[in-house]
Amino acid sequence: MTESRKLLKGETGDWEVVIGLEVHAQVSSKSKLFSGASAQYGAGPNENVSLVDAAMPGMLPVINRYCVEQAVKTGLGLNAKINQWSRFDRKNYFYPDLPQGYQISQYKDPIVGEGEVEVEVDGQEITVGIERLHLEQDAGKSIHDLSPKESYVDLNRSGVALMEIVSRPDMRSADEAAAYFTKLRTILRYLGTCDGNMEEGSMRADVNVSVRRPGEPYGTRTETKNINSIRYVKQAVEYEARRQIEVIERGGKIDQETRLFNVATGETRTMRSKEDAHDYRYFPDPDLLPLELDPAWVEEIRKGLPELPDAKKHRFMSDYGLSLYDAAVLSQERAKADYFETLAEGRDGKLASNWLTTELFGALNKAGKEIEQSPISAVQLGKLIDLIADKTISGRIAKDVFAIMFETGADPDKIVEERGLKQVTDTGAIEAAIDAIIAANPEQVAQVKEKPKTFGWFVGQVMKSTGGKANPQAVNELLKKKLGVE
């Protein structure tokens, strides 16, 4: 597997990039991790702030059971170990958007331990290890550009539940990093534990990058913070890998540091060096008891899990004979997978997959629509496939019908009926058309015996004269007979 993975060419030889991701995913939950305030996006400044979120004197955190359930669910979805005993710690630092002066997080004992995720890159599968998943509070937002002299703080996000999902350094290219991030998003959305909405900041990644000569130990890594799109993850890895290779090849050394990604330029720059790193003075939060999970409860959550993308992918491959690529594409989103399954029900899976991935996805893509907004329902598309299968229409006509369906949302049988697109299987009518063409083109008839390739010209003529509605198979057979060719 490693051999096939891309190496980067430097001036002095090949380099391997090593990437690990720390993804912060906002837990889908009505209220915050330790308070009853709303965790919904889009409220006015400081509207979703409880006494706890504002760290008023004497206020105490109380764990939100639903957020714990969401974390457990996610852990199970990542094939990870659920820790029956975990604990919350305080990470101490001062900043105006951190009212308590500490973030409640899980440092030594996270709720979820090791797991793994299958990631598809270029039609191949790689496995990315998960080191841990822990629950923590988000901070508020500081706004520095509203006033020349003052900073403003919005505490709506303060205390919102985040899952930090830490991967192993198992990725070897920007594409792999992007594919892992995408896959993680897919899993979280399947589980309903994070909406994956990157514009609203629901998913952000800290990207750890280092480079090394193939086969050598890991190099020194840098951490690029707070990247909120798949494209930027790719850009950041590409930039950072190139930069590190250049530094080393010029005889320099990589500093272990935290970097920032510039969206405008696609470059990273130093934010703080290791020497400036905070001493967070972590210690167990004495306001909270250790989090102990009842194994029966975890089991209940496990039983309630939906079928996950990887399981679906494998089932699509074995049950419908799909390729890894198609199976991966169709299982990427639950809506797509559900569409496919409705469509493939009682039909040829490969045919269904082809119609879906090439025709429908192509059309949706062009129209800038999501599968949920498709003008053609799975039932309708199924009917169209059935019309081809029972020879009511030809494959070519079907594409025209598809275009009309996409435009109007009408049922395919209705379109076929109304527009008289039914395939002509009446051999009498086809024979008449053939006879007319043979009579009108004696030269071509003479030629066809020596040049069998010209046979196609006759097929075309027949189709033309029947308005494309003639059954191609019947046309072929009758023509062969009448022209006396094999």
């Binding site: 504002a54 004497g58 206020m59 764990i63 001062f94 001493d279 003075r281 210690f283 004495p286 306001d287």
Partner: protein
């Protein structure tokens, strides 16, 4: 009838119920006492108008035959408890002028049962201190003075306003809190009864946090019965405090007077510390004899880890405090420095101005013991010892029902006597701090006077959530001690 304010809480409760006195009369009498006792500096804020409003409402309820367990009883509230619409300072400049929009669960429980709030009681800043001298609002003066002397003595700390207020009859009883001895030591120094219940018995919600794993609210009252009545109203499960325990609150008052015959009383030899005044040793011996005479069995026990309790406490408590007090940053409420050039200087100027020296000292100790490279040597090791101290008590309580010790290593000392020597000051907690580390209930009962005529207390420590046995023992001690002395009213 005697002066209303000389009635115990229990007697006042009964007099109110039988309409022999009105809550408004009682409240006015206390407000008048408070007015005359300004010199004691027991209150940071007196809420006279609110007190009269609450009293009238109580009288109306009593008239209708309604009313809670302590309907109409005027109380003082330690200023560590947040009270809705009333300044709550924690004895600190940094919270001066801070008016909460919410009510602490413990005080809310008291209002639910009909109590009347007279005002907010002075205390050491953020409950850090044993003499009330760290209060931004000045020290509280102990109503007790040495025989023939007139030097100002400490009422103990951190609940010095509570102990002095109860001893001087400025309120029927008071709330207090105890992190390392802040209820029991001031009770001992003022001849009042102080009860620190089991950790988790009273909600910490709305109580300004000092050291979350040690803080526990409890009452300071005039006698054992009053403290039992108070605790019953204050205690209870609170879903807003994750460390609060969900179990029913017993009627502690009904434990009083029950026979202590056959109870095993442990006497730990390690509490006989070097340099302990002979009078305290004698008092302790008296206590042992009283319990024996009451039919208890005295058992010599050993708690060898006792000597580590103070060092452990002075790592754990500052560590938690350094983090708990991070929220006082001048951003959202409380004091903010006038002068600053950026956010960092705003923080440092605000906190340098807002926190007193003792608080700053503990924040620095706490930050130090939690910092990278020192965590294992200090905080982690302290937590391990703490666990072993707990185990040691569990072991002891497999042999005994209660443990009897002195409450404090000395009687009330003069203001200024120890305030420049933190280590001397910290030693005040030597007998009390173990119960906090182990989460156990402990109480101080007045037991005698020393040669200078200053009160001394004895402490009982019980098993977790066995306050009922503790109250039985306290009542037996109280009966045997027959302590009747009162401070001469020199301040009014």
């Amino acid at each position: 009838m005697t002066n209303i304010t000389d009635l115990t809480l229990a007697d006042l409760r009964d007099a109110l119920k039988s309409k022999k006195v009105s809550s408004l009369e009682a409240t006015d009498a206390y407000l008048s006492n408070i007015e005359k006792a300004r010199e004691l500096n027991a209150f940071v804020t007196v809420t006279a108008d609110r007190a009269r409003e609450m009293a009238k409402a109580s009288d109306a309820r009593i008239a209708k035959g309604d009313g809670g367990a302590i309907e109409g009883v005027p109380l003082g509230i330690k200023d560590l408890f947040c009270t809705q619409g009333v300044q709550s300072t924690a004895g600190s400049h940094i919270l001066e002028g801070f008016v909460p929009t919410y009510e602490s669960s413990v005080s809310a429980n008291l209002w639910r049962d009909g109590a009347v709030m007279l005002g907010k009681l002075n205390m050491d800043e953020f409950a850090m201190g044993s003499s009330n001298e760290t209060s931004y609002f000045g020290p509280v003066i102990n109503p007790w003075r040495a025989k023939g002397g007139n030097s100002k003595l400490t009422p103990g700390g951190s609940s010095g306003g509570s102990s002095a207020g109860v001893a001087a009859h400025l309120c029927a009883a008071a709330t207090a809190t105890d992190t390392g001895g802040s209820i029991r030591q001031p009770a001992s120094l003022t001849a009042t009864v102080g009860v620190k219940p089991t950790y988790g018995r009273c909600s910490r919600w709305g109580v300004v946090a000092f050291a979350s794993s040690l803080d526990q609210a409890g009452p300071i009252a005039r006698d054992v019965r009053d403290s039992a009545i108070m605790l019953r109203s204050m205690a209870g499960h609170d879903p807003k405090d994750s460390t609060s325990i969900d179990r029913p609150v017993p009627d502690y008052e009904s434990s009083l007077g029950q026979s202590v015959k056959g109870l095993k009383i442990g006497v730990p030899k390690e509490y006989r510390i070097d340099g302990m005044p002979g009078e305290i040793e004698k008092l302790w011996a008296d206590g042992i004899k009283w319990m024996k005479d009451a039919g208890c069995e005295i058992v010599d026990i050993s708690l060898p880890l006792t000597k580590y309790a103070l060092p452990v406490y002075y790592i754990v408590a500052p560590a938690e405090a350094s983090s708990n007090l991070a929220r006082y940053d001048g951003v959202r409420y409380g004091h903010r420095a006038k002068e600053y050039s950026d956010v960092l200087s705003m923080y440092s100027n605000t906190r340098a101005e807002g926190f007193g020296k003792e608080v700053q000292r503990r924040i620095m100790i706490g930050a130090y013991v939690l910092s990278a490279g020192y965590y294992d040597a200090y905080y982690l090791r302290a937590q391990k010892v703490r666990k072993r101290i707990f185990d040691e008590f569990v072991d002891a309580f497999s042999k005994v029902d209660l443990i009897l010790t002195p409450s404090a290593p000395s009687a009330a000392f003069a203001l200024g006597e120890k305030s420049n020597d933190p280590v001397q000051m910290y030693l005040n907690d030597v007998f009390t701090v173990t119960a906090n580390l182990a989460g156990l209930p402990g109480a101080s009962v007045p037991a005698g006077l020393d040669e200078r005529g200053l009160p001394l207390g004895l402490q009982l420590i019980a098993k977790p959530f066995d306050e009922e046995t503790m109250f039985k023992g306290m009542y037996a001690l109280e009966q045997a001690a027959a302590f009747k002395a009162r401070p001469e009213v020199w301040w009014a």
